[in-house]
């Protein structure tokens, strides 16, 4: 039920560069899983509110008080491309 085009579309949304074999396999595997999952759509859920939060808590708010930030050298130590005191990336839109 999931064809190659759909798989490619979803892979693009998820930024996954799937190989050809992967695409084919994914189409089959996801279709199998969805076939099984589909059954919940047969349930009568008229008027049932969706659970958006499991716990009965509201308004977990934080006072507007500053807290220490991380030192720059610490955060840049993990960066694949430290650049100009920041995180280097290819320019969006560059060919």
């Amino acid at each position: 039920m999931l064809d190659r085009d759909q798989v490619l579309h979803v892979a693009r949304l998820a930024r996954l560069d799937l190989g050809e074999q992967e695409v084919a396999r994914m189409a089959e595997e996801l279709s199998n899983v969805l076939d099984h999952i589909e059954k919940i759509r047969e349930l009568d859920l008229e008027g049932v509110p969706p659970t958006s939060h499991v716990i009965d808590v509201v308004n977990a708010l934080r006072a507007d008080d500053p807290e220490p930030s991380l030192p720059r050298d610490v955060i840049l130590a993990a960066a694949p491309e430290p650049l100009h005191d920041g995180f280097g990336v290819p320019s969006p839109g560059a060919a």
Partner: protein, 493 residues
């Protein structure tokens, strides 16, 4: 035979989408300080950097400010609202999603001036993507780098209904919004610094139609002037397209204020499939009585829209003047201080008639003309008390209108007290009681018998040169109205 082309008149339909950076101390979902042109990446933490395992926690002051904005805009404040994840990939978005609000926002409905509000919601700002290369703009660079200082700054997004029908109205309304937000104290609202950002949705339709045309989105015009010009340029572009029989394509455009040109922007996310779902790391926001009371308590006594109404209805100002003074708070504040001063020292001049607020208000534009339209009168050499005194003197006919304008110019240059200046410059009014004036009137009549004859015959339009003669002779010290009256008396009996 030439064919006549019928040209359809099109009317613009404009809606605005405004992002306001809130003036809190810390970010929307973490305790990092907000940045003001600080060195890059010194205000970050696991949460605003999107490190693995980090979680957001809502800033209560941002909610407080959000409620205040909702109240100022006359919105319905949702008793319960949710945060949602808006999913897309971009380097300035560390988590790969922005925490925003979707179908259950903080505020709905409302109105400011004559524009209805669609919704108001809270979200976090993206980080700053900088581009290497000479222009600093994205084209022509192939390396960019990200500064996360700004990422996570609390934003309020305000979306209007498409109630705006001209570029000028768009600009004026944005000024009103800005003044309103400024008076709430929730933001610096500085367009040049990015704490107030405005996108416009623009479409056109045949005049009188109720169907909406295809709209385009103009991104981030960062001044009132650019907003007006950008919207105008887009209206022209769309009009031209439709007149050529082509269709308007829905797209996002960038307006270049230097060239005046509009260029399409590459879209950030294919078909804008943001896959919104409720943010599971946050709990619902319930705005109860306490929060509402706290927000109301922090509101200024009077907001610009209310002030405009009061100026017009209670003080009798002309509608346009009322709006100008209300929307530009510095003018309104100055005016009210002058009004106070006029009342305090007894607005009864020689004539016994009180100085009307509307009369006083006419002097503000005169002042503004002399100090520059962007200047704040309170910073000029003319105190509100001086202006009030000058206006009172004119009302009492102690000085002519023309002479008073000269006095105002002198006040702007040197400050001081208008009475002293009038005395010093000898600009006191010449009135009918001065015999000298009667003589000058006779001279005027003698100088132009043709005009005099006209006036004697009842043609008042001819009186101009005669009045002008007397004005010149008296160096503007006589009141124009007085002069006219005297000439009529002389000629018409």
């Amino acid at each position: 035979m030439s064919t006549t082309s019928t040209s359809t008149a099109y009317e613009p339909v404009i809606g605005l989408e405004i992002h306001v950076q809130l003036d809190t101390r810390t970010k929307m979902f973490c305790g990092c300080r907000l940045s003001f042109n600080d060195p890059p990446n010194i205000h970050t933490c696991p949460t605003c950097l999107g490190l693995p395992g980090a979680l957001p926690v809502v800033n209560e002051r941002a909610i407080h400010f959000g409620i205040m904005i909702g109240l100022a805009l006359g919105c319905d404040i949702a008793e319960r609202s949710l945060f949602h994840r808006k999913n897309y990939f971009y380097p300035d978005l560390p988590k790969g999603y922005q925490i925003s609000q979707y179908d259950v926002p903080l505020c709905r409905g409302g109105r400011l001036g004559d524009v209805r509000i669609h919704r108001v919601h809270l979200e976090e700002d993206a980080a700053k993507l900088n581009h290497l290369g000479t222009s600093g703009r994205i084209h022509g660079s192939d390396r960019s780098w990200v500064d996360f200082n700004r990422g996570g700054t609390p934003l309020v997004e305000i979306v209007t209904e498409p109630d705006i029908s001209s570029p000028e109205q768009a600009r004026e309304w944005l000024i009103l919004l800005r003044t309103t937000l400024q008076q709430l104290g929730v933001s610096d609202v500085d367009m040049s610094q990015g704490s107030l950002r405005c996108d416009a949705n623009v479409s056109i339709r045949p005049a009188g139609s109720t169907r909406l045309g295809t709209k385009t989105e103009l991104k981030n015009m960062n001044s009132f002037a650019f907003l007006e010009r950008g919207v105008r340029a887009e209206i022209e572009r769309q009009t031209h397209l439709l007149e050529q029989g082509e269709a308007v394509v829905q797209e996002t455009l960038h307006f270049d204020p230097v060239s005046g040109g509009l260029t399409p922007l590459r879209s950030k996310e294919e078909a804008h499939d943001y896959r919104y779902f409720p943010e599971p790391d946050l709990v619902p926001l319930v705005v109860g009585e306490e929060m509402m009371t706290a927000a109301r308590a922090d509101m200024p006594v009077e907001l610009p829209a209310e002030r405009a109404v009061r100026f017009e209805r209670e003080l009798g100002l002309h509608a346009d003047t009322a709006r100008l003074f209300a929307f530009r708070a510095e003018l309104g504040d100055y005016f009210e201080r002058a009004l106070n001063a006029a009342g305090a020292d007894g607005s009864r001049g020689n004539g016994g008639a009180a100085l009307e607020p509307a009369e006083l208000s006419n002097w503000i534009p005169q002042l503004v003309e002399r100090i520059g339209s962007d200047a704040d009168p309170a910073t000029s050499n003319v105190t509100p008390e001086s202006l009030a005194a000058l206006a009172t003197m004119v009302k009492a006919k102690e000085v002519s209108r023309d002479a008073a304008r000269e006095v105002l110019t002198l006040l702007v240059n040197e400050g001081g007290d208008p009475r002293a200046i009038v005395e010093r410059e000898g600009l006191g009014a010449i009135t009918a009681e001065d015999n000298g004036l009667a003589e000058i009137v006779d001279k005027a009549i003698a100088s132009d018998p043709a005009a005099a004859e006209q006036v004697r015959a009842g043609n008042m339009k001819a009186i101009g040169p005669l009045v002008g003669y007397v004005m010149r002779e008296t160096k503007g010290r006589a009141d124009g109205g007085e002069i006219t009256r005297l000439i009529r008396e002389r000629l018409q009996g």
